[in-house]
């Protein structure tokens, strides 16, 4: 009974909300390490397995280090009809990794994702939270270059 009361007193408080805390930690640290999940479990007074259970339930949370830019290519049916395979091959060729991998320099991760709701201008992909639609191989190489350059100038800027 006591436990129940404790939970309800913190329920309106974002601090007690595991998913929000995980989203915040990933935003800050790039991914959810074992250490991060352990600390979160401790601060919320819950088991590590519960934290891990939530962290691995959602596809936008990652328990492995990710690239600075996470590319999510839509593999939904409407994008498949508009040749999303071409998109995947073009990206694989450009950055030299397969879906599920991260480039050795840590710039890009490549993932396949379910429908991202851009079917009216398929094929589409997300790079972090930015949407890119109407993809062709030329467009893709231009988009990737933009991120390459942004990443390089970030480094120069310190």
């Amino acid at each position: 009974m006591n436990d129940h009361l404790q939970v309800s007193s913190s329920q309106y408080n974002d601090k007690g909300n595991l998913l929000l805390r995980l989203e915040e930690a990933q935003h800050r640290l790039g991914y959810l390490s074992e250490q991060t999940m352990g600390e979160l479990a401790e601060s919320l007074g819950i088991s590590v397995s519960e934290v891990y259970g939530v962290a691995t339930f959602y596809s936008f949370l990652s328990t492995r280090p990710q690239g600075k830019y996470v590319i999510r290519v839509c593999k939904g049916l409407p994008c498949c009809l508009k040749d999303s395979h071409m998109v995947i091959s073009a990206i694989e060729a450009a950055i030299g990794i397969r879906p599920g991998d991260t480039t050795p320099d840590g710039k890009f991760s490549l993932e396949l994702t379910n429908c991202i709701g851009a079917c009216d201008s398929a094929p589409a992909m997300l790079v972090n939270s930015e949407l890119h639609v109407g993809l062709t191989s030329r467009r893709i190489s231009r988009i990737l270059k933009t991120y390459e350059q942004a990443s390089a100038s970030d480094r120069r800027g310190g």
């Binding site: 909300n17 595991l18 939530v54 339930f57 959602y58 049916l77 851009a118 997300l126």
Partner: protein, 404 residues
């Protein structure tokens, strides 16, 4: 039948970054009008309009509100479901990007009607790029003093199709894995943090200001007997003009797919996304309504060059991946079906596989915990009914010597 813009009336008309442009087209007049009425009167108006939920299930909106209004509880919540994850659906993205204000008005009206002081908009992770403009729009409404005794917060999803299901969505707002809850109790009596909660789709809430402004009679003049008003459709696939179209409910599928979206040589259409129905070309005159076929309004068009087994295989792969895993019929059933379809895709299916899928379909429809598992067999059964020949041509014993 031409387009009829009720929900989309301000899209492309107002500037979604400036509330003044919304106020100039009678924005927030409905809310003012409602505040001069009792919450019960507001609910009665919505009930009289005949508005049904636009997220796919079609539950009467006014009745849902009434249940929440009458449910005992000090704290009540309104949730706007903007977790538009159904494959082929993008209407809510279009609405959120082009007219956030009418949605905010709708959420606030719902809050007034049920006696909630807090509203959540649950925005899918894939739409994170819409977050800032939504926050800004809510901020402008707050500054204008339009959110009296009420506030709206955005909660971002983290990538899970099943969170579009209302009970999984509430678990996700609470910070947990988005797993489906056993019901009853239903959200209007026991929802978010076990409090009475109304959860409505973006499009449903977009209808509310127009109903309050123009009256229930105006609204229920549109549509069929059990499907009132308009519906916003997301049309994609093999069409020359993919996009978002709004039509009066009961309009024939053909008007939308061929007339508005410019499809040619149509073989089949998937209505309502992955868990929706697949219909062949000769059913093009089917009315789009709750009585016939509707779902959340995803229309994916396949022309004569498409392979139906391949389409259904991809659909079941998707459902197997996105099953939340809580109930066995869905978790295992979608996996098994995806496996069988994989064999057909390789040309190695057999007659027994078809029987297995049919038996499994019955079990899932009867025993799965939520709409995902209950409706997952739809694409399999529809394609077996209308395109059985395509399965038969993929059977091992019928392929002859080419197989070796």
């Amino acid at each position: 039948m031409p387009e009829q813009r009720v929900v989309l009336r301000n899209c492309g008309v107002i500037n979604p970054g400036r509330i003044a442009t919304y106020l100039a087209v009678d924005g927030f007049k409905a809310l003012n009008k409602a505040r001069g009425m009792t919450p019960e009167q507001v609910i009665q108006e919505v009930k009289d309009s005949g508005l049904r939920g636009r997220g796919g299930a079609g539950f009467p909106c006014g009745l849902k509100w009434e249940l929440a209004r009458n449910a005992p509880g000090d704290t009540k919540y309104v949730i706007c479901n903007a977790d538009e994850g159904e494959v082929g659906t993008f209407k809510d993205r279009y609405i959120l990007a082009n007219d956030p204000f009418m949605l905010i008005e709708g959420v606030t009206l719902a809050g007034y009607a049920i006696g909630a002081d807090m509203g959540y908009i649950y925005l899918r992770a894939e739409y994170q790029y819409l977050n800032d403009s939504l926050v800004k729009a809510i901020g402008q409404a707050r500054e204008q003093g339009l959110l009296v005794d009420f506030d709206i917060t955005i909660r971002q999803g983290a990538g899970a199709y099943v969170c579009g299901e209302e009970s999984a969505l509430m678990d996700s707002i609470e910070g947990k894995r988005g797993e489906v809850r056993y019901r009853p109790p239903f959200p209007p009596t026991k929802g978010l943090w076990d409090q009475p909660t109304v959860i409505n789709n973006v499009e449903t809430l977009m209808n509310i200001p127009q109903i309050m402004l123009n009256g229930a009679g105006w609204y229920n003049d549109m549509g069929t007997e059990r499907s009132k008003g308009t519906k916003v459709f997301s049309v994609s696939g093999d069409v020359s003009k993919p996009g978002v179209y709004e039509m009066v409910l009961g309009s024939p599928l053909r008007e939308l797919v061929e007339g508005l979206a410019g499809a040619e040589r149509v073989k089949a259409i998937q209505i309502g996304g992955a868990t929706g129905r697949i219909v062949p070309y000769d059913m093009m005159d089917t009315p789009l309504s709750f009585e016939d076929i509707l779902g959340a309004g995803a229309i994916t068009v396949f022309d004569e060059s498409r392979d139906m087994v391949d389409i259904v295989h991809k659909t079941l792969q998707f459902l197997a991946e996105e099953s939340c895993g809580k109930c066995t019929p869905c978790r295992e059933g979608t996996e098994v079906m995806a496996g069988i379809l994989e064999r057909f895709a390789r040309g190695e299916g057999n007659e027994r596989d078809i029987k297995d899928m049919e038996r499994l379909s019955q079990a899932m429809m009867l025993s799965a915990l939520c709409g995902l598992g209950q409706a997952a067999p739809n694409p399999v059964l529809d394609s077996l009914q209308y395109f059985r020949g395509e399965y038969e041509s993929r059977m091992q014993e019928k392929r002859g010597s080419v197989a070796r």
